[in-house]
Amino acid sequence: MNGSLDSRLDENIAAVKNEFGSSKDLATEMVSVGPGQLVRVSLIYMRGLIDAASLQDRIRTPLLTSVRVKSDDRDFDPVTIVRSELEAAGGWSRIDCIPDISQAILSGMTVIIIDGVTEGMAVDTKGGQERAVEEPSTQSVVRGPREGFTESAATNLALIRKRIKTPDLRVESRVIGTLTRTSVDLLFIQGIAKAAVVEEIRSRLNRIKIDGILESGNIEELIQDNTVTVFPTIYNSERPDVVAAGLLEGRVAILIDGTPFVLLAPALFVQFFQSAEDYYQRADFASLIRILRYICFFISLLAPSFYVAITTFHQELIPSPLLLSLAAQREGIPFPAFLEAAVMEIIFEILREAGVRLPKTVGQAVSIVGALVIGQAAVEAGLVSPGMVIVVSITAIANFVIPAFNMGISIRIIRFLLMMCAAAFGLFGVTIGLIAMVQHLCSLRSMGVPYMSPMGPFNLDDQKDTILRLPLSKLLARPRFISANRIRGHHDSPRPK
């Protein structure tokens, strides 16, 4: 009892079925082998979790053909023969108690129990439906690889291994989540990643005590530095090349089985404004686009606040013709500027959320309908001024320029706070709000690394890859705070002599 196998097959099968509460997808196949087909062998597996071909090739076929052939021998020892056949077909492992059997079955293995034997065998027949490797939906590039991670950790690991072909790439695996038993892998390159950081992440992962991990977001929340902040401190990506680049810089990657989003820690503020494409296109173009991204960051953060602050408190700052135009637009609008701005922003957020959930056929129509027609109709109904519609649209569009979606979310939240500051205290309030935000950002740390480096603790070397993207020949040192080994390579001038 207490979980160990009985010698009688029927007892064992009943025990396993009991463990699973007679679930319908638990299959128990019976095969007879041995002289006169008197020895009964049972194959137990979960229907959806196994690969049928594997089951056929590695278990059934050997059992039903070779074992039967050999079983005419008088000295038939079913256990030995079955074992040797299974070994020829691909290997097996010993299993001898009911809890282990349950785990094995749930991991996609097939358990083989022979009548009269108190030891079972488990063969790996893992299969099941898996998505093909396709272009990542959230982070696409014009130029660059089109492979994206899938939900299978094994596939994802392979995608990374394909790119980093050094034995120094270490993979440490652990299982987190008492009920989901999710496999979580920690990746880093030995010699490049800082040992302290790796140890810190290891200890944080080990401290997690939770019943289920379903997505990398859960892990992210559980291991991030304990500060109250809207800004993301761990980067995630669906692209293998991004993760590989991060590993090469000395970062640590965390793969979670069941989600294509891989975490990269530590994360810096400037990372969320970098896109993989920056490194595949020309340096000058990439630098300009990066500058554009920072400009859009400010636009997305400040445009409504500036508009509200200046038209409500600081009309003297506006050039006279513009002031007259704005004054003319606001004739007859019943709401104060702040209320207009807040309502328009909230309507845009509603449209955005709705757009995410709409079925594809309807989605296109609503986005165009929503943005243009509702905005236009609101203007014509005299509820908002046209200037406000423009400001809000530009804000929303500028938000999409930022490559990392989680940073975009943070900006949307801060935008509302700054709007309130602007409405109450004008530009003075905006300035105070910005100072508070900057101070908050500078106090953040990601796995012990200051969040705002290389701008916070200012580091001249690392400026080569923050706002501008200098050519690769100049980018031959790894970021100071992240990696232990900073030398990347040497590069003499590529020009022909």
Partner: protein
């Protein structure tokens, strides 16, 4: 730990409460403001009359928002003892608060200018809502209220028109002076220097000029025209400079950017020139206790119009024309200097030139400078260079022979 958290929570609550309790005072929505683009000051029996030209934004906007219901600007006036009070009194007339930060021009009626400006303008310069980038103008022969009531074609906001025209005429025609408030106040503070302000007159029928019909005719009933420069002494308007004299003033002050003039040909008729560059320097000297000033003027001009018979291809003709030009300019400069001397008003800043040259001697002369200025010996040296002849060399008159 718990203490810290409690304190933080408490501070947060206080902060949010402060946000709500203070609300957003000092908040002025755009549709609560009347934007005053022009302001006028006139003398009246019981104090000073302040006129404000405020914009009706709906009428001014570019796209067809105009309803035709009212005029692009409205003029409102109020009388009180001090400028600031009168300005506030205007709020009893206007449906919204008068907002003066976007002022373009400040017009001063001639009567008030002659009466004296020093006390009147203090209120304007002290108020924090007034910027200092608007122009001061004197309404010549009329009241500021009248000037501000005239509607202008082509430029919907008359104050804007006055602003732009002043800039333009300064740039291309030169007998006007752009004076901003801070220039005026700093010069007023200087007891030695006298001020000048441009004059603006209403040409035509003012009555009809106030109505919308003024805008809808190709030849408007009334036009706002800049003419002449007013001479101020001790903050009071004392004299007007004519057109030529105003140009002379601008030459001496090195304000000329581009203008046109003419020279009399040796045979009679005129020859037009376009001045493309002018540079003037004033140098002071004290000789034997007597101050002397030398004004050097360097002018480059192109020939713009030839009405007489003269062969421009000959070098000596060009030299002759240059000489004639120099004589003419000398005459103009001397005439304005004499006029200023007659009024004992040092509008050119000659006193400063003398002070730069000899500060010790200046100390003795400082208090009685107007007397010294009136008898000042001023040497004028003009150098004219003719550069280009335009796209034809000799006129038809010359070639036709």
């Amino acid at each position: 730990m718990r203490q810290r958290r409690l304190r933080r929570g408490f501070l947060l609550v206080i902060f949010i409460a402060a946000l709500f309790v203070s609300g957003c005072w000092d908040r002025r929505e755009l549709n609560e403001l009347s934007i005053a683009v022009g302001m006028g000051l006139d003398l009246s029996e019981s104090g000073i009359e302040v006129t404000a030209q405020v914009v009706n934004p709906g009428e001014v906007v570019a796209r067809g928002g105009s309803t035709g219901y009212s005029t692009p600007v409205t003029t409102l006036s109020a009388i009180d003892k001090t400028t600031f009070e009168a300005l506030r009194k205007l709020n009893t007339l206007a449906p919204r608060k008068i907002y003066t930060s976007h002022l373009r021009v400040l017009v001063i009626g001639e009567r008030l200018a002659r009466h004296g400006l020093n006390d009147v303008l203090d209120g304007v310069s002290r108020d924090r809502e007034f910027r200092s980038d608007f122009y001061l103008i004197v309404a010549k022969g009329t009241t500021a209220k009248n000037v501000l009531s005239i509607l202008t074609p082509m430029e919907k906001i008359p104050a804007n028109k006055m602003f732009i025209t002043l800039g333009q005429s300064h740039k291309y025609w030169a007998p006007t002076v752009k004076v901003q408030l801070d220039d005026f106040m700093s010069d007023e503070a200087n007891p030695v220097k006298s001020m000048v302000l441009t004059g603006l007159e209403v040409v035509g029928n003012s009555e009809k000029g106030r109505t919308k019909r003024n805008e809808s005719r190709s030849t408007p009933y009334a036009l706002l025209n800049y003419s002449g420069v007013g001479l101020f002494k001790g903050g009071k308007l004392v004299d007007w400079l004519g057109e030529e004299e105003s140009k002379g003033y601008n030459y001496i002050m090195d304000n000329v950017y581009n203008t046109a003039g003419h020279i009399s040909c040796p045979g009679g008729k005129e020859l037009g020139v376009e001045v493309i560059r002018a540079k003037a320097t004033k140098k002071g000297k004290v000789e034997g206790g007597r101050p002397e000033i030398t004004v050097r003027l360097f002018v480059e001009e192109n020939i713009s119009e030839v009405r007489c018979k003269i062969d421009l291809t000959k070098q000596q003709n060009i030299v002759l024309l240059e000489q004639l030009g120099e004589d003419k300019l000398e005459g103009i400069l001397m005439s304005v200097i004499r006029k200023a001397q007659a009024n004992k008003a040092d509008i050119f800043g000659f006193g400063e030139a003398v002070e730069d040259a000899n500060p010790r001697a200046w100390k003795a002369m400082e208090d009685k400078w107007p007397e010294y200025f009136a008898k000042l010996d001023v040497k004028v040296e003009v150098d004219v260079q003719i550069r280009k002849l335009g796209t034809t060399s000799n006129s038809i008159l010359e070639r036709g022979e």
